[in-house]
C-alpha cells in the first residue's frame, strides 16, 4: 500500500512537473529540413519561453497525424504537413481553427492576413515555406552534354543509369506528362481524364525497369550519393544541402518542378494546445521564416520575409538562385492543387500501385 502511494505520488509529481514546464511535440519531415527548423524556430523559441520543443521525424507527418486522430490518441502538438492533407483534415474536423488575426504582423505593421502569400493561410493551417520537388543528377556521371529538361530524365539512351522516383502518384504522374510535352497549366485537366492518366503511365512505362522507388525525403540524396541512381527527383532543399553543405557534385534541373507549401497545423486534441499555438505564432513570424532560409533553400511564405533572406549559413552562398520561388524557376513549375488531390489521391494511388505491382 505504502509502495503504491509512493508510486502514485511520484507519478502525479512527475505529471505536474511536465505540465508546469510545458513541452511541445512538433512532428516534421526529418533530415536537413528538420535541422533547419530546429535552428531557426526551436532553439530561439526554447530560449525565449523556456518551453522544451521535442522534434519528431516522420516520412510524411500527415501519416501519424491521421492515424493518431483516427485512433483517438493524439500525442503531437504541431504537425508540419502538405496543403492537401491540411484541407482534408480540416474538413474532417480534426484540426484547430487558426484565426489570422492572432498571428504576428509584419515588421512594417502589415497584418498577417495580407503579409502571407495567397493561399498560405487556411482555416486550420498556416504555411511556413514553399518547396519544390525537382530533378537532380550526379554531374560526374555524364560526359559531354548534361541533362537539362524533364524529358532528359526519361531519356535512358542519352543519359544512361537508374532513376530515383518517389513511390506515389502525386509526384510522378505530373513529371511524366511534362516530359511528354504537356504544358504546366494543363496538368490537372489531363490527370482528371482517363486518357491523360494513361498517357502518364505510358511515359512512366518507358523507364519503369530502371527506377529505384523512394519513400523518405532523405533517400534520393542517399541514392545519388551512393551511385545507385544517376538522376533522381527529390525535395530541392535536401539536394541543396548535399550540394552546398556537403559539396556533392549534384546539379538541379528546375524544368518541371512541382511546387508545394508546408503548413503548420494543430490537432484538436493536442496535449498542449496553448504552447502549440505560441510555437506556431513564433515560428511563422517574419524573422523566423527568413532565418530558416539560412539553413535550407526553401522559400518563406511571408512577403515581408523575402527581403531578409540573404546568405547561407556558410556566409558566402547567395540563397536567391537556389530558391524554388525564384522567378527563373517558375516558368514550367506545376503548383500543387490540393482540391484535385483530395478528390483523386485514393483512386490514383490505387491505380499507381496496380501499375507498380504489375510486371
Amino acid at each position: 500500500m505504502k509502495k503504491t502511494l509512493a508510486l502514485t505520488t511520484a507519478l502525479v509529481g512527475f505529471a505536474s512537473a511536465a505540465m508546469a514546464e510545458g513541452e511541445v511535440n512538433v512532428v516534421s519531415w526529418g533530415g536537413a529540413y528538420e535541422m533547419s527548423q530546429v535552428e531557426a524556430y526551436n532553439k530561439p523559441f526554447a530560449e525565449m519561453t523556456g518551453t522544451k520543443v521535442n522534434m519528431i521525424a516522420a516520412d510524411n507527418p500527415a501519416t501519424p497525424l491521421k492515424a493518431q486522430v483516427e485512433a483517438g490518441n493524439v500525442t503531437g502538438d504541431v504537425f508540419d504537413i502538405e496543403v492537401s492533407d491540411a484541407i482534408r483534415l480540416c474538413d474532417e474536423g480534426a484540426l484547430m481553427e487558426i484565426d489570422p488575426a492572432a498571428l504576428p504582423a509584419a515588421p512594417d505593421g502589415t497584418a498577417a492576413a495580407d503579409d502571407f502569400i495567397d493561399g498560405a493561410l487556411l482555416d486550420c493551417a498556416v504555411a511556413n515555406i514553399f518547396w519544390g520537388t525537382v530533378i537532380a543528377f550526379d554531374n560526374s556521371k555524364f560526359e559531354g552534354d548534361a541533362p537539362a529538361t524533364a524529358a532528359d530524365f526519361f531519356d535512358l539512351e542519352k543519359f544512361p543509369g537508374k532513376r530515383g522516383l518517389p513511390k506515389n502518384p502525386k509526384r510522378t504522374l505530373y513529371l511524366a506528362l511534362i516530359a511528354d510535352g504537356v504544358a504546366a497549366d494543363d496538368i490537372y485537366d489531363k490527370l482528371g481524364s482517363d486518357e491523360g492518366v494513361e498517357q502518364a503511365f505510358a511515359k512512366l512505362d518507358t523507364i519503369k525497369n530502371d527506377v529505384v522507388w523512394w519513400e523518405a525525403g532523405a533517400q534520393p540524396v542517399q541514392l545519388l550519393a551512393d551511385g545507385e541512381v544517376t538522376m533522381a527527383t527529390g525535395y530541392n532543399g535536401r539536394f541543396f544541402d548535399a550540394m552546398v553543405g556537403e559539396g556533392k557534385p549534384f546539379e538541379i534541373i528546375w524544368d518541371g518542378q512541382y511546387m508545394d507549401m508546408d503548413m503548420f497545423v494543430i490537432p484538436k486534441d493536442a496535449p498542449n494546445p496553448e504552447a502549440a499555438m505560441e510555437y506556431l505564432k513564433f515560428a511563422t513570424d517574419t524573422q523566423r521564416l527568413a532565418d530558416q532560409a539560412k539553413y535550407i533553400a526553401y522559400g518563406p511564405a511571408r512577403k515581408s520575409s523575402a527581403d531578409l533572406v540573404g546568405m547561407y549559413q556558410d556566409g558566402e552562398t547567395e540563397m536567391a538562385p537556389h530558391m524554388p520561388t525564384n522567378p527563373d524557376h517558375l516558368t514550367t513549375a506545376v503548383m500543387d492543387d490540393p482540391e484535385f488531390w483530395a478528390d483523386h489521391d485514393a483512386e490514383l494511388t490505387e491505380r499507381f500501385n496496380s501499375w507498380l505491382a504489375g510486371s
Binding site: 491521421k66 492515424a67 474538413d91 491505380r351 496496380s354 507498380l356
Partner: protein, 432 residues
Amino acid sequence: MANATDPHAASVTTASGAGDGTLTTADGKPLARALARSQGRARRRAFLLVLPLLAFILITFVVPIGQMLQRSFHNDGFSANMPQISQWFAENPRGTDIDEAAWTALALDLQASAEERSIGVVGTRINYDVPGTRSLFTSTGRKVRRGIEPPYRETLLDIDEDWGDPVLWGAMRDASTPYTGNFYLASLDRTRAEDGSIEMVPERQQVYQMLFMRTFWLSLLITGLTFVLGFPVAHLLATLPMRKSNLLMILVLLPFWTSLLVRTTSWMVLLQQQGVINDILVWLGVIGDGQRLQMIYNQTGTIIAMTHILLPFMILPLYSVMRTINPSYVRAARSLGATSWTAFRRIYFPQTLPGLGAGALLVFILAVGYYITPALVGGSSGQLISNMIAMHMTDTLNWSMAAALAALLLASVLVLYWLYDRLVGIDNLKLG
C-alpha cells in the same frame, strides 16, 4: 477443515448410509453430488488462476482484432452524419424516383454536417465508391454551411450539377446503412455496377488478387528455401559434439536476436548495385562494370532477405526434434542392408516430420504477414499483400479496406491450417 461436511472426510467414511444403494457422506448427502461440488470448487479456483491470462488475451488480442475486423463490414461515415437522407433511403426501395423529400433531406443533412465539420468524413466514405466525389461534398459544404434555402433541388444542382448523377445516388444508398460488403468486393478486385450487380474492376485497377497469389507463392517458396538451407544445419547441430554445436547454435541465434531492420539494411548494403557483392564480382572480373546484377529492390531481394530472416524459425524446431532421434535406428537400418539414402529416406526423415511440420507452418504463416522487409528491399515487384494493408492503414487511411484485406488473409491462413490438419495432423506438430 475436518468437519462433518468435508467431502474428503466423507469419501473415507463411505457407505454409512441406509441400504438404498446410493453412497452418502457422513451427514447423509449423496456422495456423487458432494464430490461434484468439491471438484467444481477446485475447478473454479483453477479458473481464477488463469483468469488474468484470459482477461489479458481478451483485452489485448480478441477485442482489438474483433473491432478491427468489424470495420471491414461496418463503416458509418455516411449514415451517422447524414441521418435524414439515410432515413429516406431506408423508406424508399431502390428504383424510387428521387423526390422533393429526398432533396430536402440531403440538403439539410449537408448543411448540418458542414456546420459540425464532419462533411469531410461523409465525402471520404462516398469517395471510396465513386472516386472524385470528395470535393463535391466539401465544396458544397463550404457553400451551404451558413444555411440553405429551398428550393433545395435547384439550389444543389446550381452549386454542382453532379448532384443529379444516378451513380452518386446509388453510392449514397449503399452507404446509407453502416453495414456493407463493398470493402470485401474491392479486396477481390470487384465492384458493384450501377444496377447493384457485381463485376470486375477495370483491368488496370486490379491489384489485390494478383498480390494475394504472389504472397502465397512467395511464402511457399521461402518456406521451401528455409527447409533446403535449414535441414542440413539442424542435422549438423543435432549430431555434432556439444562444444562445437553450441558455437554453431550461437551463429544461428545471433542473427535471430539482431534487430530486423539492421538485418534488412545489411542486405541492402550487400546486394545493391554499388554494393559489396557486386563490387567483388566486378573486381574478380566475373561481370563487367556495366552489367552489375540487380539483386535488390525486386522480388529477388525480398526472397533472399526473408529467407535469411525466417531461417531460425525452421532450424530450431527441426533441431529440437532431431536431438531426440535415436541414432541406433539408422545404424540398424544400415546393418540390415539399407543404403545410406534408403536409411535416410525411410528411417531418419520420417522421424523429423513433426519438426519439419512445425517449422514450415511457422515460416509460412510469418511470411504471409511480412511487410517491413518487402517494403524496404522489395522495390515494386517484391511487394506483398501486407504492404497494401499497411498502405491503407497509414497512407490512404481507409481502415475498412485494410481490415477487409486482413480478414481475407486471416481466413485463407485458417483454411491452410485446416488443410494441414487434415493432411498431416496437427497433433504431429512439435515446436520444441
